[in-house]
Amino acid sequence: MNPVPPPGYTQSLIADDPFWLTLIKVLVIFVLLMLITLFMIWFERRVVGRMQQRPGPNWNGPFGLLQSLADGLKLAFKEDIRPVLADKAVFFIAPVLSVVPAFVAWSVIPLGPEVSIFGEQTALQLTDLPVGVLVVLACSSIGVYGIVLAGWASGSPYPLLGSLRSAAQVISYELALGLSIIAVVLYAGSLSTADIVAAQSTGWYVWLLPVSFMIFAVSMVGETNRAPFDLPEAESELVGGFHTEYSSLKFALFFLAEYVNMVTLSAVATTLFLGGWMAPWPLSLIPGVNEGWWPLLWFFGKTLAFLFVYVWLRGTLPRQRYDQFMRLGWKLLIPVSLVWLMLVATLRVLRTELTTGQILVVGGIALVILVGAALLIPDQAPPEEDKEPPVITDYPVPPLDLAVPETPKRRRRAVAGKRDDQQATETVGAGTSGEGDR
């Protein structure tokens, strides 16, 4: 393994990039994100298709890979409709506002370590700011404006409801997201993404801060408006949500923004918790595996794993009800992350002031006190048994304690001529239930 660069090293490495190199990096990131979006749409449809026992798109190109390209072209040539009641300027600005921040956030993601491009030593990262993580948060908070304004400017009730939901949703989940990042920053001692990756060379933060990771993983789904948290565009409730009135390229921009946001947050999760571009454990033992261009492979592999989980969630979970969703955010994720943050901060202070033995002793005493206190809590009364609901209808429904009557003797004897006795008694029940199966 290569030696860990000191904090701020990547920053100074990138600082003396010539202009053409920066331009190349910008172009490559842009093209990469467009390609990943095309790939993701195909990937999502294929994976969801496989989960639902059908092939998915397999007609255009090898394995249907060109399907999303065809769809994108078709979308671009559709008629661009603007509702009469729409607010012209805002209706136009909204999709742009949602796409641009999604792309900008990628400027601080470290894709790889130090490499040489055309003889120029640089890092595979557009820029490394001392406040890199905040860039991601800022971009996501600007991106919400796109959704909110789209709903408002459409001049139609369903999009407005969608955008109201989206505003409340993103504000709530951004809190949990930010709180889970703080623990990482506490341990890394820096807000710079490159430094955070470097700090994980001894161990990924997913093992050190599992609670933060889980909170981040849940709230990043909420932040990107993806199933099961896709309430701003809930098809069953709001037609299409905030983009109901959008068509053609403007709609394509929203689509693009959603997928780029997914990729961005997956990349951020990789950077913060899964060691960024570092190779996973058994591979990391091979020398030279974290140098040169290889880390790109590890980075995109991890990001793709996150993206697969996104698709998996969409294929598996039903959409949450709005109040359940808000309760999860405010009453579970935020309190849990606050308590966890207190624990992490306390441990950090103790680590610098006490030895490991002292920490164990203090922790043990605290644990004993906690267990003792837990014993003092009175037992919970057993919950009341769930009674059958009373029958409250005029329809002739069978009683709830219905017992299937025994087959009359004469008939049983007749049936027994063909089958044995036990099967015959079952025919009464089987006759009705078998009907439905067919």
Partner: protein, 305 residues
Amino acid sequence: MSTVNALLAAAPMTGGGEMSTGESVAFWILGPVALAGGLGMVFARNAVHSALWLVMTMLSLGVLYMVQQAPFLGFTQIIVYTGAIMMLFVFVLMMVGRDASDSVVEVLRGQRLAAAVLGVGLGGLAVAAVAETLSAVGPVGLGPSYGPEARGNVQALGTSIFRDYLLPFELTSALLITAAVGAMVYTFAGQARRKQASQRERVVERLRGPLAGYGSRSGPGVFATADSVATPALLPDGSVAPASLSKIIEATRRERLDADIADVQSDSGPAGEVDARALRGGDDSDVGAGSTHDRLSEGDSEGAR
């Protein structure tokens, strides 16, 4: 905190007070944009447009901070002000409705004149203060080599807030929390905490509560000409079944039907042979929406069930 602000405000003076080319280009682009945003906010008729102009000003200011080597302040400005506070504003404005525009009528007399005088005064004060700052106050401790561990601006800021000025910082946050909790208490004061009915309770309520008496419940094989809840049921003697009259629906007040009932009774002679179908109810358009038969059966078989 004031020291921190002063420290950040003085940021452009880094490196002997000379502005680099990039910095001045950024300033001459962002300055007018920020100014336009401010003017747009004041003059826009639509409240949401005003908010958007303000967002533009805040974004330009944020970028200006970043250019002036205060990236932390810049991004915090974007996250906190644009992302959270303005978003709340927009949220509330959207609730108001998109056609709510400012009224042009002046309500307070002489308000414009007073506003103009005070505005010019405030502007003068601000210009004087900034001019004084630029000439008299020297910048301290900027650039990457500042701070106890010489690790740059962000670390120095952290040290200032969480070590040197910890108590004022915590007091401020306690004040803010108190304000937020107080606002919530006031919002919910006076409203008794209602227990939310569960799904089962709501179903039972619907089927057994005040709504239980009606609904489309005609069973199979029922012949009914009027299914409306507004059409009352007749008892075998031709009188209206009291159970079929709703306490909630206004259209079925008993008095309105008196003429109808009399009409039916006079038409069909003896009370025993009243034709229930002749009763038209309040409105002809309601015919076919509920079951008269239901009401009738309810009247006579109430005891039996």
